[in-house]
Symmetry: C2
Subunit: 207 residues, 2 copies
Amino acid sequence: MHGPLHPTNGEADTHYRILQAALDEFSHNGYKGSSTRVIADRAGVNEVTLFRHFGSKLELLRAAVEDAVQRLQVPSEIDTYLSMSFREGFGKFISDYLMQLSTQSDILMLGFAESFTHPQVAEVLKRFMWKIRSVLLEYFTELHRLGRMREADLPVLTQMVMALIHGTPAMRKRAPTEVTSDLTDVRIVSTLVETVVSAYSLEKEGS
Amino acid sequence: MHGPLHPTNGEADTHYRILQAALDEFSHNGYKGSSTRVIADRAGVNEVTLFRHFGSKLELLRAAVEDAVQRLQVPSEIDTYLSMSFREGFGKFISDYLMQLSTQSDILMLGFAESFTHPQVAEVLKRFMWKIRSVLLEYFTELHRLGRMREADLPVLTQMVMALIHGTPAMRKRAPTEVTSDLTDVRIVSTLVETVVSAYSLEKEGS
DNA sequence: CATGCATGTAAGTAGTCACTTGCGTAAGTA
DNA sequence: TACTTACGCAAGTGACTACTTACATGCATG
């Protein structure tokens, strides 16, 4: 109908530039707060071109979120983490995940905010979170099976860890300086790791 | 200028009804997504009356958020929590806090979402979170001073706990059934309590 | 050269938005 | 009765919105 295929032109990046501009605008001003006019301007493109590529504003949002999520690389090989100590492996998992989140935190927060009114966007994000959840749960399960971790309600623990990870960048955005003060994410992450390790590890300490 | 004082009429609840409707609309559809027309309708009031009371849509938002936050009661007497065991006291604190949050979670999530573009709204929320943070930090500090809690980076630990509490309802909203499955907030909270207690308590177990 | 394709330009449509103005009315107060 | 206050109603204003239509341009491939 309004094909995103431009095989003729070497300048196929028009599509991508619009996506990028949409991501920017949407994540800063929300869906209703962004106008196709401004998005097109920021992409250095005529507004008509935007509609030729995406058909509607809503479809543009969906495409932008999908594109962002697709660029996220979820840690999937738990062997890497299992080969380290509980502290090191878990810490690496968390920071790997958090780093992914922070690179795309704008669009994720947008998606979350809009997911209530736009289920199609919510669907994209749900898939992403489910993927991470299953990997983390598998990691915990394996640790426990190997006798390196105490008995615990692993699904709930997994959920808790994810809530914390998602709550961290959200809170930072919300209360930038005063509440967060100089507490960087790094310190929060290391505290989380220490807490979980101290509570559940069955490994003996000391390298 | 456009006074909210109606001393003459016993029906001073017009003001309140508009606030309530605004809260409803804003928290469901966001600021830009809500129209003064609909808000007035839901309040059973003419749109003109809305402007006579609040002057502008933005001022209405500010008033609604402020009103909601004002109704939140922050746990302030840490003695109650200190008189219990670590597990019981901390658990009570968390569930007290979470309960407050959940009663007003709609407006809080709205405020968070809009705080980026509306600093006046952000200010209101920042004050609320700062209050809770200081109480929790004081609770931890006192526990530690009493030798009932291990050495730890208490400000960061406080921050972590708050991030988790705020992340929990947010995640529930975002990924309703699938990711959350049947894991209620209650179970997550109790897992948080168990984890923190297990990691930091110096009290002996058993009643 | 001719065809097709991606884009630009100009103009317009139908709707919504926050917000205003002017006037009428009911009720309470002096 | 005279005045004030709170509200409803009708109408309108100017700006902005997503989205469309019609036409022109330049570039690449056949």
